[in-house]
């Protein structure tokens, strides 16, 4: 086994302070899934193309597989588990209404990406949504229903 020094750091994950102990080579995805039990973010390609590992870091989209956890102290991480409270988030509702989920393996990544997009562009155009999704791949839906969900008008009852 490796004998490099472990790192201890504080980060906020889904609003909760976490003290994380990890080895330098662990990606944020490794830490989320294996140490914090947050398995919503998925391992897809491992090299920053498929986006199945998408999380928000200080509100901005990032590929968790391309970041070393030990460099992220004091950051605010949001995973798919942090998007829904007792009710589903409006992006999640749109996904269900638009039929944007098939096998679902990419879904957490897309839901988080689109949440990130709509945080700064509340009602994106189709062109904006498609361009924003350069870091997410879906092999089931042809992206069509996902883009419809991304551009769905804000539901005043659900919007956060």
């Amino acid at each position: 086994m490796t004998d490099v020094a472990l790192h201890s750091l504080e980060m906020t994950v889904n609003g909760e302070q976490q003290n994380v102990i990890c080895s330098p080579g662990e990606t944020l995805l490794d830490v989320l899934r294996d140490r914090l039990g947050l398995t919503g973010a998925k391992f897809g390609c491992g090299i920053g193309y498929c986006g199945a590992c998408t999380v928000l870091i200080d509100g901005e989209v990032a590929h968790a597989c391309c970041l070393l956890a030990a460099t992220l102290s004091a950051r605010n991480i949001t995973t798919v588990e942090g998007l829904a409270g007792d009710e589903l988030n409006e992006v999640q509702e749109s996904f269900l209404d638009c039929g944007a989920v098939q096998c679902g393996y990419c879904t957490p990544g897309f839901v988080v990406s689109i949440r990130g997009l709509r945080n700064s562009v509340p009602e994106p155009t189709e062109v904006q949504a498609r361009a924003f999704l350069n870091g997410n791949i879906c092999r089931c839906t042809g992206f069509a229903a996902i883009v419809r969900a991304a551009c769905a008008p804000i539901n005043p009852e659900l919007a956060e």
Binding site: K42, G44, I47, A52, D97, G99, R139
Partner: protein, 732 residues
């Protein structure tokens, strides 16, 4: 059309909420008690002999619990995919036949450790000269497998009807064209994983990506030397898609994990990396296709011949794919004088297997491209030329079934209307504007695609499904099925069917698959778009019977605990034929050869829409695979080495590349098809796509591409040829 309350109305997926919240677990998330992790030692050579394997260093590592080698497969049969396939593949081989072929494997405490141990296994190879092309395979200079003389992956598929040569000699026009298609990989976002638990000697429990449970169980049982009842296949909680990849056993996955588990005495989770998942499983068969078509001036097709060679890779499906191609090629156009010959050959590449729309993708690219060229030559609208020659209801399929329902004209009409089709924008012979080298030009194209729903007559095992229906203690309804929900939405579709038959809200119905030990038999599973059709009919049957039992007993409560069976066995000798007509518009950049698909209309005859969101989703998703096949997807090899088997190098289209897609759900119900006349959609959507795009490019640039994928270098080369042939304006 009868008004229905649940069927045909938008309904949220039954598993949707779990998926959007991240609660849904997949194989990748599953951890069993005392589970180990497996990794494979793979041949770095396309062809070699293993002289010796030294496993001492790996076995000595702390945390390594088992190592298996070819010796571990002694007494086990070589795998035979289909009845007439040569038995050529070993689970662990001392004669690797492709880069990635498994020569040993390890089980250890962690995945990292297993992968490290793989590096400590010392394999001594004698490198052998490989066969890297079908041309070389055909020479017979090297025979790859003892059981496959002339490197044939099963018998040559050949038929002849009438006298095509005589017709070709006398008809008005003869068209001769050659086409090639490439290796396409499924590239599921979830890489393949399986968990095997060979418990207490005689019983093997398996969780894996798969398309069918029972067929798979039998194949796996035979592979590892167990009776089928001793193998228990459990559906994973959720499955990250297959696109047909798991229609059959993959030697380097479940059988390998099973052997590791037996050796270690503990459950083993074998995890393929994204690279292995693409380069060491199965791909679509590449094909070389030569078509000769004889036509009269009025557009009537009077003779057709086809000569094909399929590259089956090291151990692939071969002749079965050719059979599927024959079925579609021979049926799509009415013609009495035809000849078809298809040879499938083994080469030292990743095996060819099933991939969404087996065989039909390749043959349609060829035949629908050629028919478009015929239309252009005769100055006929391709829609009308299709109308004149296509198969119709009343014609007969390969095994003799009379076609009851086929929405040919409906798809052509509705697709053309949705698109605003007025024929090609730049017909040949018209005064076409000469494109300047830096121009961007547009073109339109259409194509028809036919595939099948169900497997009747295509495989030895009889088609059919069983299921059960019951009232639960909380007075809701439970349907037990033997088919796996692999993401395409079958659980939701079957829920809607049951709810409709029972006359209840879909929220009160649950569809459950509990694995081969306890689930009702559905032998063929989620393959060939048969779930809605075949399993749907069984579910409708069970739900109807349960409804009758409730009526007879007087109340729902009175029937709690009573399990009612349903089943369906098709009377037909052929699967249901399913047709679609697609229309597309492209824009081609003459600077770069890049093709942008602007609009895409897919009119598919779905029989009857049951799950409208699912149906549309399957069409839109299918268009993604088809456009990738047409434009940019290709698994590349260099001297037998895969060079782009990862998410960076293997290109699938992104959201920003995709056109506006309109799925036109054409309903021409089949009275003896799926529930309410439904047909399949997931695979039939594929075949028309690549030729529709090819035909639009032809319209846009005045030159036809015969080789897939139609990548920018090929498009630009065609543009330049055309410029040099016809245009006075050259660059530089």
């Amino acid at each position: 059309m009868t008004e229905l309350r649940a069927v045909g109305h938008p309904h949220r997926r039954v598993d949707g909420e779990d998926k959007v919240t991240g609660r849904a677990d997949y194989l990748s998330d599953m951890v069993l008690d005392s589970m180990l992790y497996g990794a494979a030692v793979r041949s770095p050579y396309p062809r070699a002999l293993v002289r010796s394997i030294d496993t001492t260093e790996a076995l000595a590592m702390d945390g390594v619990h088992a190592v298996v080698t070819p010796e571990s497969t002694e007494g086990l049969p070589s795998l035979r995919i289909f009845a007439d396939s040569p038995p050529v593949q070993r689970i662990i081989t001392a004669n690797p036949n492709f880069v990635g072929d498994v020569v040993a494997a390890v089980a250890a405490d962690t995945l990292e450790l297993a992968r490290k141990a793989v590096l400590r296994i010392d394999v001594d190879y004698e490198v052998l000269p490989p066969i890297l092309s079908v041309e070389h395979a055909a020479t017979g200079e090297i025979q790859l497998h003892d059981a496959a003389p002339e490197n044939r992956a099963g018998p040559v598929i050949a038929i002849e009807r009438g006298d095509p040569e005589a017709q070709l000699a006398t008809c008005d026009h003869v068209f001769r064209d050659s086409y090639t298609t490439q290796r396409q990989a499924a590239q599921t976002i979830e890489s393949l994983v399986c968990i095997c638990d060979w418990i207490d000697g005689p019983e093997l429990k398996v969780w894996t990506h798969l398309d069918s449970m029972f067929h798979f169980r039998d194949a796996l049982a035979e592979a590892v030397g167990l009776d089928p009842e001793r193998v228990i296949i459990q559906p994973p909680p959720n499955l990250g898609a297959t696109f047909g990849l798991k229609n059959s056993l993959i030697a380097g996955l479940e059988p390998l994990a099973a052997l590791l588990s037996r050796e270690a005495g503990r459950p083993v989770k074998l995890v393929l990396s994204p690279d292995e998942s693409m380069s060491a499983t199965v791909t679509r068969h590449p094909a070389t296709i030569e078509l000769v078509t004889g036509v009269n001036a009025d557009g009537k097709i009077v003779a057709r011949t086809a000569d094909l060679v399929l590259d089956s890779g090291a151990y692939g499906w071969g002749y079965v794919v050719a059979l599927s191609m024959l079925g579609k090629w021979a049926t799509l156009y009415r013609c009495d004088d035809i000849r078809f010959t298809a040879t499938s050959l083994y080469t030292n590449h990743v095996p060819g297997g099933a991939y969404r729309s087996v065989g039909t993708a390749q043959i349609h690219f060829a035949m629908e491209s050629q028919i478009d060229e015929v239309a252009r030559s005769l100055n006929l609208d391709p829609v009308e030329l299709h109308r004149q020659n296509l198969v119709r209801a009343g014609d007969r399929l390969s095994m003799g079934t009379e076609i009851r329902s086929l929405g040919v004209d409906e798809c052509l009409d509705q697709g053309a209307a949705a698109f605003g089709w007025e024929g090609p924008r730049h017909p040949d012979g018209a005064a076409a504007p000469i494109a300047r080298p830096l121009d961007v030009t547009r073109g339109v194209g259409m194509a028809v695609g036919m595939h099948h729903s169900g497997l009747t007559g295509l495989i030895p095992h009889p088609e059919g499904a069983t299921c059960t229906a019951e009232v639960t203690n909380d007075l809701n309804f439970l349907i037990r099925v033997g088919v796996v929900e692999k993401g395409q939405g079958s659980s939701t579709t079957l829920t809607l069917v049951a709810a409709e038959e029972l006359g209840v809200d879909p929220g009160r119905v649950a569809v459950l698959n509990t694995g081969t030990a306890t689930a009702p038999l559905d032998y063929n599973g989620a393959e060939a778009s048969r779930t809605t059709y075949i399993v749907g009919r069984a579910v409708a049957d069970a739900a109807r019977r349960l409804g009758e039992a409730i009526e007879k007993a007087g109340s729902v409560a009175a029937v709690v605990g009573e399990v009612v069976e349903g089943n369906f066995v098709p009377d037909d000798k052929d699967p249901l034929p399913v047709i679609g007509a697609h229309f597309c518009e492209v824009e081609v950049d003459h600077v770069t050869g890049v093709v942008r698909v602007l609009r895409y209309i897919a009119a598919q005859d779905v029989g009857r829409v049951i799950n409208v969101l699912g149906c549309r989703g399957q069409i839109e998703g299918g268009v993604h695979h088809g456009l990738g096949y047409a434009l940019c997807e290709e698994l590349l090899f260099d001297e037998g080495q895969p060079i782009n088997s990862n998410f960076m190098g293997y290109k699938v289209l992104m959201a920003a590349d995709m056109p506006e897609i309109e799925a036109v759900l054409v309903e021409v119900p089949d009275p003896d098809g799926g529930p309410y006349g439904a047909k399949g959609v997931g695979t039939p959507v594929i075949p028309a796509i690549a030729p529709a795009v090819a035909n639009a490019i032809r319209d846009a640039i005045g030159a036809r591409l015969h080789h897939l994928p139609m990548s920018p270098p090929k498009v630009l080369a065609a543009i330049v040829s055309n410029e040099q042939a016809g245009s006075p304006q050259l660059l530089g």
